[in-house]
Symmetry: C2
Subunit: 293 residues, 2 copies
Amino acid sequence: MKLKELNNVTLIGLGLLGGSLGLSIARSMHNVKRIGYSHRETTRTKAISAGIVDSITTNLADSVANAQLIILCSPIGTFKTILTEIKDRLQPGAIITDVGSTKVLPNNWAKKYLPKDVTFIGSHPMAGSEQRGLDFSRADLFDHAPCIITPNKTSPSKDILLLKRFWEEIGMRVSTMTPLQHDKVLAQISHMPHALAVALINSTPKDQALLCGKGFLDTSRVASGDESVWGDIFMSNAKNTDQAIGRLINELTRIQKALKSPDHKQINNLLCKAKDKRNNLVNQKIRRKELPL
Amino acid sequence: MKLKELNNVTLIGLGLLGGSLGLSIARSMHNVKRIGYSHRETTRTKAISAGIVDSITTNLADSVANAQLIILCSPIGTFKTILTEIKDRLQPGAIITDVGSTKVLPNNWAKKYLPKDVTFIGSHPMAGSEQRGLDFSRADLFDHAPCIITPNKTSPSKDILLLKRFWEEIGMRVSTMTPLQHDKVLAQISHMPHALAVALINSTPKDQALLCGKGFLDTSRVASGDESVWGDIFMSNAKNTDQAIGRLINELTRIQKALKSPDHKQINNLLCKAKDKRNNLVNQKIRRKELPL
């Protein structure tokens, strides 16, 4: 299947990501019919009136019956149930993907529950997360942001290509990894930093925090994320997150050692290395248009 | 001395903080004459043409001869030399303060080098830090931001009150601590979070960081700060910063333990506690107008 042959997409779960995806598809793929599923009536009503989907159903299995591409946009914790409920109604050749933040478990579940004549390839579009719910949906949420797709060794290359082209059409910069690689990398760049923000807040007495400046607020920002979403992410990537926290503690211990010596030169080296590395990162992100100038 | 009797202020060092202070004073205290000192000729020329000060001198000792209030706005590393150079030209009753990020060392130096008939009380206006230099000066840099002043037990209460009123007139929310308390609190809310951002960046391989989203960029933002400024801060508050890093590592270890168990409920508890605590903090900052709505 080529991207221009894609006519039927089903979005399961219509929160911030599912809703924004509906708007993005409408913006960039005019001949795609978008079918939505949500278990909440208020969400279903809003999704139709806001033009998030073309039609909506209250029956999960029905929602996938004609779909060439099915995208799970609900929390990871719901995937097992959803896969079990839709598995007998999928068209042969259908591609199933998701937008979850960890990829090993969904990939294992798909292998276990889905029939052999469909393809599951996980996706992780890395955009938006603090605001929740359909109301915050934006057609440009995914523009220029990174998306990681995670085929395994049995994934047909034509399906990998279709999925890659789909996210690129949405406006994303796509890279490819195995589910295992993905979860290891994400532990380092997302799950451990979240743990770190949580630890920072939890180790700071309230009255002291009140005196903080903008730096502390930025460093701790992600700790305001929803605990049920992040609890699921942590538990579904526990080992990698634990190891990434271990590497962070090693670096913190190097700083402690230099402070105790005291070794001013080593402190400056560590600070300088971090400053240069971060400035280079920001400049590369600006060149790639992931960040504004 | 009452605030309205304050007519002569000397600013030593005209970077972002000294420059912004010059503009703030002009905005809110019309009868104050601002004298500036900078060792760089380009800075001196700019300071006059941008209206940062009313007059400028190339001689450090001369700059304080008529001042009722002297504010050290140069890096902490320069304080010892400055105090030695100005000590014989200060007016009896003059108040000397600074804008440095640690307070114990400046307070000790002042005790050692300054004559008995002047008062040193440290100040820490907590505003602006990433951009450096006079060119970024803004009259509103200090508006609504916290300022901590750090008298010791021998500081005359009339001088404490004058300094408090001065920063309030600049637009700041002033609180008072001993130098010791200040350095302990700042280690927790500023110096340790900086160490943490540095450790995050240094523990993340370049190619992985490139895939990061906005969360990682925010969590690591302060690591882009100047290494010489932060190296000085770290070394002048080494013990407290080391201890604050220790408390952070304890919290990180609690998360690791819950991940290893695995204890989903404990993970959710830690995440929920952090979320509530941070959201309360942000709401209080909004009520105090330190953050926009």
